[in-house]
Assembly symmetry: C2
Homo-oligomer: 332 residues x 2
DNA sequence: GAAAATCCGGAACACGTTTTCCTGGACGAA
DNA sequence: TTCGTCCAGGAAAACGTGTTCCGGATTTTC
């Protein structure tokens, strides 16, 4: 149990114990000013002895910075924003920055509430992230902002986004390198930008080998299973299916197995997301495109630190994806 | 783009614009002291006009509180701690408290680092949560702490935990109410406390109807599928299988279907977690035990607020689970 | 009409740190 | 000796609030 709270030692207590003034103690602990080495050491020992931790509220006030950044996410369930968050937190904690979490639950009112709160806290910067890859309206605050995953509609804002285009193309090229030419694509709702981009990019990379039209549906295993029936009826000679998500790909694999088609011997399958609970549990495990969201979070945080330091990097930074190859294309 | 950062208006700017002193402005905005209504209104208008947001660093310093709580989690992937976190954040944001996120990634060194950082920030309180239900060593800080999901080993600490016992029993009672008596149990590693408790509780509730021994394995679909083979060989007359997780239950359903057994007509199945990506995608969708982790997060946060307010609630608070019934026991 | 009560608002301080400026002493050079 | 230089450390201000105390002005009471 935490001992009864008395009072935490302040720098004045340290100074008193070391027999110096508060300002001298500050200099000693921060390696600044002109002090004898012996004095520095004495102050340090006093600080250690008292378990002194400088009060960052005072420091924040004096330095004009709060050493805090806010993370605004609209994605409560967090499939995408959680890894981004963790990456950002990782990068920030290295620099003694803290990250305060604000989940708006897609409610504009809550978003306003959080923005006011963050401004009130004089946060050094804000990271904005969302569930979709569609550009979102920028937020209006007199504080450095970087957008992650969902870019700002203002091209002058700083955004870090996933290379959906390259990701989809990499899956196709991988299949082609395995000798598969006749490629189909099953993905989510056509209203989703990421579905559109992945589909367009797949068609572009597959060129003449692309069979039929992209099959738009929903981001679910059920749709993946159903799409297989639709596809095989129309295009029985298909050699590979790239999917817009791992969920869809898993449904595709399940249905193919039920129909007695071997994956990948008869038909190779790829997913998108590298969502381990889907990609690894699928039978067979999925070759899939990893968006490297944690790295995206790290990059976003570092970019934000640059902006805070006064080196604004305007525009969109597009991060590469990584293709993870597994049995659904390689076999055992 | 955020307009160039000039300087945020302080309370002195508001005061100057309203033609009063800073202290008067403070009183006007905080509804304290003795002021004419007219003066109050004038100050408020000035504040609005300037878009004044009080600097919470100053406020924190003056009030002795930071209006911030830290959340320490060891669970980077976040299956369990994410909903807890969101619930806590929800409860805290209502009280104008911010939540700073600290993911230790199970590294004691990082944990120490974060603790120092939180103490430095003079956080008002700390929530500690983990991946397992095993009790964990308490943290040593002169700040109010509440443990969520993973209780503290010190029974005098405040912990909020899930009623694994009641959850498992509720699934069994549900099956019994449907006329199923011969019940088996498939769960995770015996080394996991939650697996042990759920198994013991299942056996206790099933009484004479319990068939064989609990099947311990791993938290995976693969194990669920395999366990079905083991179970049916030894106990062909089983009427229902309760599982220690939704992943296992999904594997069980898949294997039963492959073997031509109908769920639930031949054998009913229940899961644990209500992890929607498993429970809803399973064929059929799973009757399962929801641990209500978001509510747990909310309760934890509110408890912490109580402790901060000086009303310590010692000991373990065990929150009830909720049984979600779906087709895997009810049929269509 | 004078004393007392009431109301309004300002000055000063506290919170904990960093930073700027300044002073007193030691020392070397002329 | 005297002046200048350099060094070690202290005093005070600054950051932005909230709060306590106090004085002046207005109203009430006798």
């Amino acid at each position: 149990m935490a001992s009864r709270i008395i009072r935490m030692p302040g720098i004045k207590d340290v100074a008193a114990l070391a027999g110096v003034s508060a300002s001298t103690a500050s200099k000693a602990l921060n390696d600044t000013g002109q002090l004898r080495a012996e004095t520095r050491e004495r102050v340090r020992r006093a600080a250690d002895q008292l378990g002194f931790r400088p009060d960052s509220r005072g420091r924040a006030l004096a330095s004009g910075r709060s050493f805090t950044v806010g993370l605004i996410t609209t994605d409560s369930s967090g499939r995408f924003s959680i890894p981004i968050m963790l990456g950002a937190e990782d990068a920030l904690s290295a620099g003694e920055m803290a990250l305060v979490l604000c989940d708006t639950r897609d409610d504009p009112l809550r978003e306003q509430h959080y923005l006011k709160s963050l401004v009130s806290r004089r946060v050094d910067g804000i990271i904005v992230t969302g569930r979709r890859t569609e550009a979102r309206e920028p937020i209006d605050v007199p504080i450095p902002v970087v957008y992650a995953f969902s870019p700002s509609t203002d091209p002058d804002d700083t955004s870090v986004i996933v290379d959906d285009h390259g990701g989809a193309a990499s899956a196709v090229r991988h299949l082609q390198s395995l000798g598969r030419e006749r490629i189909a694509h099953v993905t989510g709702p056509e209203s989703h930008l990421s579905a559109q981009i992945r589909a367009a990019s797949t068609m572009g990379a597959a060129r003449a080998g692309f069979v039929g039209q992209p099959l738009y549906g929903e981001w679910s295993e059920r749709w993946g299973r159903h799409a297989v029936d639709v596809l095989l009826r129309a295009e029985p000679t298909v050699e590979a299916i790239t999917c817009g998500s791992d969920q869809i790909a898993r449904g595709v694999c399940d249905r193919l197995r039920e129909l007695g088609r071997s994956v990948p011997d008869d038909i190779a399958v790829t997913g998108f997301d590298n969502w381990s609970v889907m990609a690894l549990a699928s039978r067979p495990p999925l070759t899939t495109v990893d968006m490297e969201l944690e790295e995206l979070g790290r990059r976003t945080a570092n970019l934000l630190l640059d902006v805070i330091a006064g080196e604004p990097r305007r525009g969109q930074l597009i991060l590469p994806t990584r293709l993870i190859t597994r049995e659904s294309t390689l076999g055992t």
